[in-house]
Symmetry: D3
Amino acid sequence: MRLQLSTWPEVEAYLTRSTGIIVPIGSTEQHGPNGLIGTDALCPEIVANGVAERIDVLVAPTINVGMAQHHLAFPGSITLRPSTLIAVIRDMVQSLARTGFRHIYFFNGHGGNVATVQAAFAEIYAENSLAGAPGSPLHLKLANWYQGRRVGEVSRELFAGDEGSHATPSEISLTWHAYPQAAKRVAMQPARAPTGNFRDAEDYRRVFPDGRIGSNPMLASVEAGRRLFEASVEDTIEDYTAFLAR
Amino acid sequence: MRLQLSTWPEVEAYLTRSTGIIVPIGSTEQHGPNGLIGTDALCPEIVANGVAERIDVLVAPTINVGMAQHHLAFPGSITLRPSTLIAVIRDMVQSLARTGFRHIYFFNGHGGNVATVQAAFAEIYAENSLAGAPGSPLHLKLANWYQGRRVGEVSRELFAGDEGSHATPSEISLTWHAYPQAAKRVAMQPARAPTGNFRDAEDYRRVFPDGRIGSNPMLASVEAGRRLFEASVEDTIEDYTAFLAR
Amino acid sequence: MRLQLSTWPEVEAYLTRSTGIIVPIGSTEQHGPNGLIGTDALCPEIVANGVAERIDVLVAPTINVGMAQHHLAFPGSITLRPSTLIAVIRDMVQSLARTGFRHIYFFNGHGGNVATVQAAFAEIYAENSLAGAPGSPLHLKLANWYQGRRVGEVSRELFAGDEGSHATPSEISLTWHAYPQAAKRVAMQPARAPTGNFRDAEDYRRVFPDGRIGSNPMLASVEAGRRLFEASVEDTIEDYTAFLAR
Amino acid sequence: MRLQLSTWPEVEAYLTRSTGIIVPIGSTEQHGPNGLIGTDALCPEIVANGVAERIDVLVAPTINVGMAQHHLAFPGSITLRPSTLIAVIRDMVQSLARTGFRHIYFFNGHGGNVATVQAAFAEIYAENSLAGAPGSPLHLKLANWYQGRRVGEVSRELFAGDEGSHATPSEISLTWHAYPQAAKRVAMQPARAPTGNFRDAEDYRRVFPDGRIGSNPMLASVEAGRRLFEASVEDTIEDYTAFLAR
Amino acid sequence: MRLQLSTWPEVEAYLTRSTGIIVPIGSTEQHGPNGLIGTDALCPEIVANGVAERIDVLVAPTINVGMAQHHLAFPGSITLRPSTLIAVIRDMVQSLARTGFRHIYFFNGHGGNVATVQAAFAEIYAENSLAGAPGSPLHLKLANWYQGRRVGEVSRELFAGDEGSHATPSEISLTWHAYPQAAKRVAMQPARAPTGNFRDAEDYRRVFPDGRIGSNPMLASVEAGRRLFEASVEDTIEDYTAFLAR
Amino acid sequence: MRLQLSTWPEVEAYLTRSTGIIVPIGSTEQHGPNGLIGTDALCPEIVANGVAERIDVLVAPTINVGMAQHHLAFPGSITLRPSTLIAVIRDMVQSLARTGFRHIYFFNGHGGNVATVQAAFAEIYAENSLAGAPGSPLHLKLANWYQGRRVGEVSRELFAGDEGSHATPSEISLTWHAYPQAAKRVAMQPARAPTGNFRDAEDYRRVFPDGRIGSNPMLASVEAGRRLFEASVEDTIEDYTAFLAR
């Protein structure tokens, strides 16, 4: 059940059955020579919609732009400052809480969002903690699709040491599963990208000139995407169901 | 050309042809008994993607959540505070400017966003104006799909005084054109909703108990949506092309 | 009754008769070769004081500085960032609400303030809407003196196509009515200024080199100011009285 | 020379003679049973305009609302939060600096503003200091009219121990000098108000039930106001002239 | 009793005896050729710990970094913007209030903090005052160790006109009393530093090239520090005890 | 070399040898029945000072208060909101950068700080990335003392499954090594505290009634603290030295 395609009476009815919602959150940033700029937003959105076809859960519209300051030397990358993203998450959580949601599951596709989303949760809880009011009724969770158990198994089986940490064959495959027309074949040198640290955007592009970190996304395929999709839907149903039970 | 489905080298190539981009911006809010909660985000997204099939233009991912504080008494509505939305737009514009975009066209589906987006533009320009630096290279525009000339003609022909100002048959038809499976038939009393002023969320729901303002969305249809889509694509190609020429 | 010239026991007594207040809001910005920099603040202040001589209403001190980033290339112009002006309006409204005011009528002289003031109203209401508390008791309205019906009639009769949209003969006449000693005769070329779009301060001055937009303020006169003053006092009594009745 | 009654070419000409400006800053707050709510804004405005009749100096429009949180239990009082007032001063200083002003003299009528205005100056200078850029060209000063040497002499002669520290006969007299029609006779018990500490608005009103601190404003008179006006104009010409010479 | 060296059950027990706490606040900034960069933080920390050995009072960890923008041209100086320091104090006060503290005594070693801390107190009280809620239970005080009566007597006796206002022999002596190993002998020319005004960091270093203002810290000594320590402990016990009694 | 005990000429000389600095960052929060409230600030401070006795490195004053919202139901705990801590770190980093530091090593004692400090780094880098300026010269690192390799070995050897994750015997031992007088013997039931998730302060105290998570701090000892101190000094010299070499 997608929030965007529902009416408010349908949501009102849903809230009598469940107070949980999945909020996909991603990023708009370069993903190497053949990866889509929307990869990190598309992956959790694709999986969340897959989950919603299997169980009775509401899926919010995707937060498409996240914290991607280090990618800004590549055209098409867009970032929010961490302080802005904290405000976005605070406002969204307060809105959802206002109309009765209690379990808000941020389903994430971008490692660069993790610290900021966790800081946002603390910012939200801090208002309650400082007020000394009765405990917050809210349950907030951040889950990363790429860290699911089944996803890890498939990824290791298919890509092993070529997975890397940015513009990975796994995430690119998953987007191609959903958008096969956007699959592109691009030659890259070296096959496996370098690894290392980075700081700001200039520094990132200097160290990782085509945008990849440690990955060989020439291995990506629609078929791998299908397997990862199925694995992630299973992972997420399990994790979300446990979260709801808290 | 959708930014989310492009690679950074493709965007780099695009920037040699054009420095313009369309950023759909909407809202996540109730749209009456049969309107979709995503209506205001879906409409500009649907039209922008239609434009991108006709001319060489890049479409950014949609800003799905806007300023909808007055709808929060209806389940499923989500708002950003105006101050948050200003920060979001500032960060996105700065990001796009960083990698070479100069003409940024916010294509809007929600009247409640207009004041805040214009304030955001002023906030962005103010930095430049206060610095006394050479003039900003940026061109920012807010355009509302529902105010296009051709759209107005179709809407008046089809719905006349039943169009209203929230949960209108026009916007609902347009979403049904793209998502016909989400079209719903719901009886409403009275057929045409009341009009009036509103302040906060409680006040809004008291005055407009089913969420509509002045509209009769029972008149919405997939076929009307098709006509509005075509009209809006034409309107937008004309307006965006003129904007690029500044 | 001017708030600045009243004592608190007088205000306490007033609040037993009415919970309304008029807050003039303007700007400090260039108004062309013969227009006063204070024009946009003086106009609503002059009219509001005229209203207060006719009916029992309290007039707050004027917000003299507004959102004028685009005028900063002309000496003497001063702006608040939109985010600052939002905070100012929020604090003033909260203060007035604290001591019993319920109908707060912002009476505006500057088109550049409109979006930001409306965003400020939404920011204020959003706190209530997000809290899910019982509806706000506050009624907030923004009214522009220059858009009154009677003002429009006088302006069209006297200036027609020479009115323009910045440094207009109407607003300049109104300030001269109150400050005849500040009336200045200055020759301008062309008589009627150009029209067009603008972005930041540099861009504005490039397009409108003497500051005017579309106007011929050489037509301004003390006598025209007297007629506009009377028209605007009538317009405002009518509009404010209707607002109080909500 | 009042900025509000000047044109931009007149300001441009002034800047060739001087880069200084006086910005009156006050407060909108209760001033006891017979003191005007605008007292703290009116006093520096009255004196500044008197100075401008004597020497060639530009006077900005008055900042009418200041930091008055402790007065909010009395109707008609309005406050800005300190963080808001800091933003207001920052934006105004940046605006004035943009068009060539270098010596900005905040002329203050309210003790409650002092800490916040000084914090605002530090906030402004900090940007320069942190950037490590060449030193700021700006000279910022806060001067309190009630602390002038000549003002102190007159005040002690006339009111001695009845001056107190809020709603003083001196400040009330000064406003009556300019607005004799607003002079009011009100009996108060005790003649001299109590002194003490205060915290928030509730605490203030509990300790100082009619709003005065340590003063006997029944001694105020139009004639005393005339003498204080003349003393303050002399004090301010001397102090401002020395400031310009830095 | 130092908060950092206590357990929460010990603090819980303390709160049954007292709701007061001392929060030392200083700065990290140059203190001339022989003064320690930590001087302004160490002085109140040293005295507060001395007080805690004499009476039953809890001492919070020191706020080591304050408002020192004007010292940034000297290596090792660190500042918070005033707006940041206001947020720090607000959060700390809210935290302490949350668990039962009512009398919060900020014990300060740096003149440059005074305005900002007072603005922070107003920011905190303003929330209560604007809410119109029952009066705040909080008592907030800022006390400067260097302004104690006994401290002044010792300082005048020992250093008279060589005390100056920054990098004073008194404050340096006090730090050497606690950290005799850090006492340094450095020759300075002239013996007594110049006095004057300053603005930003560049301006400060231009006017005060070795960092001192009006002082001769070659007179500092461990023995003077011992006497000042004892005087300040006495001053503070007296002042804090009176504060608690409010 | 402790910054607080140095003079500015000493720091100036240090900067000719190194541009690195260690900034200890901790928290002020309950640490169970026998753990010190300052534990998380004291641990990195103790180790950093130990490092400075071994190698030529400057140690900044400790950030004593961190992000501890979840501990506020226990007396003595103090938090900064994440947004406040981000501002603190931004201001400190900008200050240090201003006077020549390039490698800033935040040495942390509190897991609850990690997300916010990383968000702060991104906030700082984002300014550079958005400006499109040449890459930032700054190197920022967050290191947690409790995650050092040697520390982990000692901790596992001594405490194994009784280490837990809050109020651990390791961190408590380390504070007792430096402050043996503050070592306390307190009986706890059960010996090993429960584990689990938490949200706000009320929720935390409900789940972990004496404040510990998964630990048995009755095992803490001064001797264990000595071994952990030595291990952590070694870990940190190694890690900091490698960081400087980037």
